[in-house]
């Protein structure tokens, strides 16, 4: 089976009457890193909480590796590790006790060697006997990750794992995520930092007002929606774009000192080469040039605007 999670027509209406998820259909592929993007209140946490059994779905179904989350909740849940968005930990337990507790809760026999491995991977080993209340926010975040990994899940949910986390921990975290992926773990994460999704994810889904409005491979997404711009610094300013260049999407900027050319990333070479020749023919010379590519963030923002 290629899909490790299959979500079908999943809806959630809270007791308040607010519909947070509308007929979600989504497949997560085995072994991928899937980034779920969306503005505040879009329904990311609701979606994750529903899959994990914390929120009751109003309609629809979810299969975890073929196991229904309602009918076969034991098997389904034992495959999942969840790092919640909120930093909620006990206060007076030690790091070691709370992480061992999680392993037991998920039905696994004691395995101090595994707990040690997890704690070391998260640089928590020297804190293992500390009470949770004495830890900093970033350390608590690590503890939550350790708890989620304590029972060796094959699917890991990270709900905004890098909120309020310093650069070092963030890098540690991504290193860990990569290692987990290499060992076969599927990872679903939400984030508001689009560079993160861009850097980490294999696929990206965008959720808005409870609806998945887009799911695609990151590369395909960036190629499909990505535009490139070539900016030329002209030697002598132009009053207007010469008629011979009408075939190109050209614009004059900066009092005629700059000429920008917008093109799709597909078939770029040919058109750039042609443009250069045509510029030459028209006698337009330039002293410098640079290109920019729209980032996922631009894509994301324009997507949300477009569908609004």
């Amino acid at each position: 089976m290629q899909n490790v999670i299959t979500i079908s027509n999943l809806s959630k209406t809270y007791a308040s009457g607010f519909q947070a998820l509308k007929q979600i259909n989504l497949d997560i592929r085995r072994g991928e890193i899937f980034a779920l993007l969306g503005p505040n209140g879009a329904g990311k946490t609701t979606l994750i909480s529903t899959i994990c059994g914390i929120v009751k779905p109003s309609a629809g179904s979810v299969l975890i590796d073929g196991h229904d989350i309602a009918r076969d909740y034991r098997t389904a849940r034992s495959l999942i590790g969840l790092v919640p968005q909120e930093l909620t930990t006990d206060a007076f337990e030690t790091v070691w006790a709370t992480v061992s507790f999680s392993r037991g809760l998920f039905g696994k026999a004691k395995n101090p060697a595994h707990i040690e491995k997890v704690l070391r991977a998260l640089s928590l080993w020297d804190k293992k006997d500390n009470k949770l209340i004495t830890l900093s926010g970033g350390m608590k975040r690590r503890v939550l990750i350790a708890k989620a990994l304590s029972h060796e899940p094959t699917i890991l949910f990270l709900d905004e794992p890098t909120a309020g986390v310093d650069v070092e921990l963030r890098q540690d975290m991504w290193k860990l995520v990569r290692t987990l992926q290499e060992s076969g773990v599927t990872i679903i994460l939400t984030t508001h930092y689009i560079e993160e999704a861009e850097e980490m994810a294999d696929r990206i889904g965008v959720i808005r007002k409870g609806e998945i409005i887009l799911v695609d491979d990151k590369m395909a997404l960036m190629q499909k929606l990505g535009k490139k711009q070539l900016t030329l610094q002209l030697e002598t300013p132009l009053e207007a774009i010469p008629g011979g260049l009408n075939g190109y999407q050209l614009e004059l900027a900066n009092d005629g000192n700059e000429l920008t050319y917008t093109y799709d990333t597909q078939g770029e070479r040919v058109s750039i080469l042609a443009l250069m020749q045509d510029l030459n023919t028209a006698g337009i010379r330039f002293k410098d040039l640079h290109t920019t590519q729209s980032s996922l963030e631009d894509i994301f923002v324009s997507l949300l605007k477009e569908k609004a």
């Binding site: 994990c52 969840l82 909620t88 999680s102 809760l105 998920f106 039905g107 026999a109 708890k147």
Partner: protein
């Protein structure tokens, strides 16, 4: 059965008991001792023996019941309310544990604690008055059944409560008065007939009566009725807990 989970939760809850040893064990022991000093020794010495049992000894089962009821409710309600309050309940809800396992571990831990407490109070009482238990088996049975039943009740309160005040309100406004009026300190036989009938509507009367019978063979109602009442409460609370889990009431959004 997810035995590992039951063990993990039970241990976690018991660890909380040891951590808060002062308030969990020592303070009820102190307050019970005070009851003995005041009622048993000071006032009780002026009250005549009934059925050959001194007043000090007479109130022992009632005092243990009082602690058993209030402590079972307090332990169990706090045990489940606190994770709801802090948000750590997410882990329990996302874990592969059944509702039965959740109840066994939380209620089991709360009941264990109050049974220990009951036995400690019994031992403390032994320092003040001569004790003898006529029916030890029945004594333990009532002890365990009451602890489990009212820990279940506490569990329900802990799920129902949406603030710390609500956690206190039922023990304070219902259980304590019912226990005081339920014959902890007197036999309802001494009440005038009208009030005696009223007292029979107080469920705690049956609990105390049965428990006292297991000590001294004296009872306000037949021990079978006491047992039936205890079991009826157990069944009632089990039904409520089953309903809570079936509907996800206040546990799941």
């Amino acid at each position: 059965m997810n035995i590992h989970a039951i063990r993990a939760i039970y241990r976690f809850e018991m660890a909380r008991t040891w951590r808060t040893l002062m308030q969990s064990i020592i303070s009820p022991v102190i307050s019970t001792s005070l009851y003995f000093v005041v009622f048993g020794a000071a006032i009780g010495s002026r009250i005549p023996e009934s059925h050959g049992v001194s007043y000090g000894a007479f109130i022992v089962p009632g005092l243990i019941m009082l602690s058993l009821l209030t402590q079972s409710i307090a332990n169990a309600s706090f045990g489940i309310y606190f994770p709801r309050f802090t948000g750590t309940i997410y882990e329990l809800l996302s874990a592969p544990v059944s509702y039965i396992e959740i109840v066994i571990s939380y209620v089991g831990a709360a009941a264990t604690k109050s049974i220990l407490l009951g036995l400690i109070i019994l031992a403390t009482a032994g320092l003040f008055v001569p004790l003898h238990v006529t029916h030890p088996f029945w004594m333990l049975l009532f002890l365990v059944l009451t602890a489990v039943t009212f820990s279940l009740f506490g569990f329900i309160i802990g799920i129902w409560a949406d603030g710390f005040e609500k956690l206190q309100v039922i023990p304070l406004l219902i259980i304590t008065p019912l226990t005081f009026l339920g014959g902890s300190f007197y036999s309802i036989d001494i009440l005038p007939p009208f009030w005696r009938t009223v007292a029979l509507f107080n469920p705690v009367v049956y609990l105390i009566s049965g428990f006292r019978w297991s000590f001294y063979d004296i009872a306000d109602v037949h021990v079978g009725v006491s047992l039936a009442m205890t079991l009826a409460f157990l069944a009632l609370f089990l039904a409520v807990v089953a309903w809570i889990f079936k509907t996800g009431y206040r546990l799941k959004a």
